[in-house]
């Protein structure tokens, strides 16, 4: 995977240069936001299960999807949905920490659309759940960090479309 730091250092080394100018400024900006990224990652990790419960409650729980014939029925599929939403949250948190989406591309989006279509997982409700997750995360970690995580949840949404 890439992260902001590595993605700035590698091209500098290709040119045999120190990190300078705009690239050094980008790195500075990232390092300055690091402490709040780490804090948010800790908060999200500590309350992941409750973030997922709340997300499902806000988006999927009361819809047809949880009834017989729906894709979250029976319980096995309900649990699979919880697991996938937890993956989305975890990888969006990693990406927020790194400020780089590549780990999402590699570990989540690669092949996801095909997998979902072969399992009959509907895309629209998945996206609704991710949108709800953005709100729940912001409630837990505050707006600023929530937006950073939201940026990467959006990245997952755009990969599902």
């Amino acid at each position: 995977m890439q992260d902001t730091i590595t993605s700035l250092i590698n091209p500098a080394d290709e040119k045999g240069q120190y990190l300078e100018g705009g690239d050094l400024d980008s790195l500075k900006q990232y390092l300055q936001t690091g402490a709040s990224r780490v804090k948010a990652a800790g908060q999200i990790g500590d309350s992941a299960a409750s973030i997922i419960s709340k997300t499902v409650e806000k988006s999927l729980l009361y819809g047809d999807i949880t009834l017989p014939g729906g894709n979250m029925y029976p319980t096995r599929r309900y649990a699979a949905c919880l697991q996938d939403l937890t993956y989305f949250l975890r990888y969006a948190t990693y990406a927020m920490l790194a400020d780089d989406a590549s780990i999402i591309d590699e570990r989540i989006l690669n092949g996801l659309k095909d997998t979902y279509s072969s399992l009959g997982v509907p895309v629209e409700p998945t996206i609704q759940a991710i949108e709800a997750m953005k709100d729940v995360v912001s409630e837990r970690v505050g707006n600023e960090a929530g937006q950073e995580v939201g940026k990467y949840l959006d990245h997952i949404v755009s990969g599902l479309r």
Binding site: M1, Q2, D3, T4, I5, T6, I9, A12, D13, G16, Q17, Y18, L19, E20, L24, L27, K28, L31, Q32, G34, A35, R37, V38, A41, G42, I44, G45, A48, R90, T93, Y94, L97, A98, I103, R107
Partner: protein, 157 residues
């Protein structure tokens, strides 16, 4: 791979969010960001001076060495490499770990210098002098961030 990427990869392998030791490690890393940036900037700005002074020290301790033989090309190559090692140390300071030094400058290094007929023991002395000279342009906090990477470099020879 930076300290951040490493903590993420480690958590990912274990299928979990970041653990408290990783979070603490990253918190420590980010807490001295400004010293990391200033250390990297000072090393970059003073590269020539650090190499020149380091070389003087090196030649006084170890006069019988290819870079001090009067062959200008050899001197230039040796000093160029020392400059490169300073650059790799700045990458490490910014990345929070020694991966850049290891991947770019240490993997295969011994074979290269042996094939170039450059005595590794002399280079070890050169790197020691380079470190000493580099520490001179840094504050104590900056030196504590960059020093361990120079030490690793010295040990590698």
């Amino acid at each position: 791979m930076s300290i951040v990427a490493k903590a993420i990869a480690q958590s990912d392998r274990a299928d979990r969010f970041l653990g408290s030791s990783e979070l603490t490690q990253l918190q420590d890393f980010f807490s001295n960001s400004s010293a990391r940036i200033s250390a990297a900037q000072k090393l970059a700005a003073n590269q020539q001076k650090i190499v020149d002074e380091g070389s003087k020290q090196f030649w006084s301790q170890c006069p019988n060495t290819p870079s001090n033989s009067g062959d200008k090309q050899k001197t230039a190559l040796c000093q160029r490499d020392q400059g490169w090692y300073i650059r790799l140390v700045t990458y490490c300071v910014l990345a929070g770990n020694s991966k850049p030094l290891e991947d770019i400058g240490l993997d295969g290094m011994r074979d290269m210098y042996v094939s170039l007929n450059v005595p590794l023991t002399n280079l070890k002395t050169a790197m020691r002098c380079l470190k000493q000279s580099a520490m001179g342009v840094l504050s104590s906090e900056e030196a504590s961030l960059a020093g361990p990477y120079f030490d690793q470099l010295i040990r590698a020879f």
